[in-house]
């Protein structure tokens, strides 16, 4: 998405701007300890927020909305209890899509120096394959140890552990001829990649 203008930098910014941000942070951290969400489930709960709510609210409101959504979805609290406590509406994230949640097929092994292309993944579920690199070519510059594929982890009990490749993309490959001179590195599970032969 574009059109956001310059970042607003605050001098001597505090860690939290409001007391409710402290509490939302602490509740969320506690929820991880209690197993309410894994990383994929929590990120997806925020990705499922209404787009206008997401863009128009502060960061820790995203966390609050995500963690409340997960607490309802896992049966720990009900929306009625939340609304009664808040004395009004308690907007939650949308449900997980009932169709179109896909998981990429396992990719092939790659090694440092390989030319790769990012698969054009389409899913209505969670993924950590950023849209701006899908279909783009780059070079593998590092391989990180295997880790649980978020696309699976966010949607059920199945797990697949795969190495993660750091892929270096030329700015012009991502943004076109007039792009700035820059190299952009993105960390991608092997299932997101195919080797260019």
């Amino acid at each position: 998405m574009e059109g956001f203008g310059p970042p607003a930098v605050e001098i001597d910014e505090p860690v939290f701007h409001h007391d409710w941000e402290r509490r939302a942070f602490g509740i969320t951290m506690a929820s991880f300890v209690l197993g309410v969400s894994n990383g994929g489930q929590f990120r997806h709960s925020i990705e499922r927020m209404d787009a206008e709510h997401y863009l128009g609210s502060r960061y820790y409101e995203h966390w609050l909305t995500g963690v409340a959504t997960r607490l309802v979805e896992t049966g720990r609290v009900t929306i009625e209890e939340l609304e009664a406590g808040a004395g009004g509406g308690f907007p939650l994230s949308r449900p997980v899509a009932s169709a179109g949640v896909t998981v990429p097929e396992p990719g092939t092994d790659v090694t440092v120096g390989d030319e790769v292309r990012v698969r054009r993944i389409t899913t209505r579920g969670h993924t950590r394959c950023p849209r701006y690199v899908r279909g783009r070519r780059g070079t593998v510059v590092r391989i990180d140890p295997p880790s649980s594929l978020p696309d699976l982890e966010a949607h059920g009990d199945a797990r697949r552990s795969e190495p993660i490749a750091t892929v270096r993309f030329d700015g012009r490959e991502l943004w076109g001829e007039g792009a700035e001179r820059a190299a952009v590195h993105v960390d991608l599970w092997l299932s997101y990649l195919e080797r260019v032969t």
């Binding site: 998405m1 956001f4 203008g5 310059p6 970042p7 607003a8 930098v9 605050e10 860690v15 939290f16 409001h18 007391d19 409710w20 402290r22 509490r23 939302a24 942070f25 602490g26 509740i27 506690a30 209690l34 990120r43 863009l55 609210s57 960061y59 409101e61 609050l64 963690v67 409340a68 607490l71 720990r76 609290v77 939340l82 009664a84 406590g85 808040a86 004395g87 009004g88 308690f90 950590r128 394959c129 950023p130 701006y132 990180d144 140890p145 880790s147 993660i164 991502l174 943004w175 792009a179 700035e180 001179r181 820059a182 190299a183 952009v184 590195h185 993105v186 960390d187 991608l188 599970w189």
Partner: protein, 197 residues
């Protein structure tokens, strides 16, 4: 402990009401305690912050062997100084030189190396920063007061998977006489993200 934040005499905004409602509900149900939440808040508001990263950088500036270990295995070298934990299990340290400038972003959410930098500032989590750091990093850096000569290569690192990145800035000229503590005082959070030199 004081429980000031568990009372709300003045009128609360809707988000304050929601956070308060969720915390009270979870405590009433015996799922969390106020103290659990307090503990997380205190840890990340009072104990963990960019001074940790500054100590890592100052050590690397004064001890070439440490610098080599830090670049080879960031997680282990950072652990030597006693830092580690959530969002720091796989640390990659990238070094600035006369020829190369590194910039760290998380386009998908807000991934950030907590054990060495603490929690991220608002701008790091904002739509402008996340969208523009990968698309027009030089223009963004210039707007943030970091002008780079044309010949300096820009390397952007999108923390899209498990690795978390720390920039090792260049040691300022004229600091040969300074000790490690004095050097640490010169290292800024922004330099360790890469939005300052």
């Amino acid at each position: 402990m004081s429980d000031d934040h568990h009372h709300h005499p003045r009128t609360q905004s809707p988000i304050e009401q929601r956070v308060h409602a969720l915390e009270e509900l979870l405590v009433d149900k015996g799922i969390v305690t106020h103290e659990m939440i307090d503990e997380f808040v205190a840890r990340y508001e009072d104990d963990i912050g960019p001074l940790n990263g500054a100590r890592v950088v100052a050590r690397a500036w004064t001890d070439p062997d440490y610098r080599d270990r830090l670049l080879a295995d960031g997680t282990a070298a950072i652990a030597e100084l006693g830092y580690g934990g959530p969002e720091g299990d796989h640390m990659i340290v990238v070094e600035n030189t006369d020829e190369v400038h590194n910039l760290v972003v998380c386009t998908l959410c807000s991934c950030y190396p907590w054990p060495v930098l603490g929690l991220p500032p608002d701008w790091y989590k904002s739509a402008p920063y996340r969208s523009r750091a990968v698309r027009e990093p030089r223009a963004l850096l210039a707007e943030m007061g970091c002008d780079l000569p044309d010949e300096v290569e820009v390397r952007v690192w999108d923390s899209s998977a498990e690795a978390r990145y720390l920039v090792l800035p260049q040691r300022p000229a004229g600091t040969d006489a300074l000790g490690e503590d004095e050097l640490a005082a010169l290292v800024t959070r922004d330099a360790m993200i890469g939005v300052a030199r």
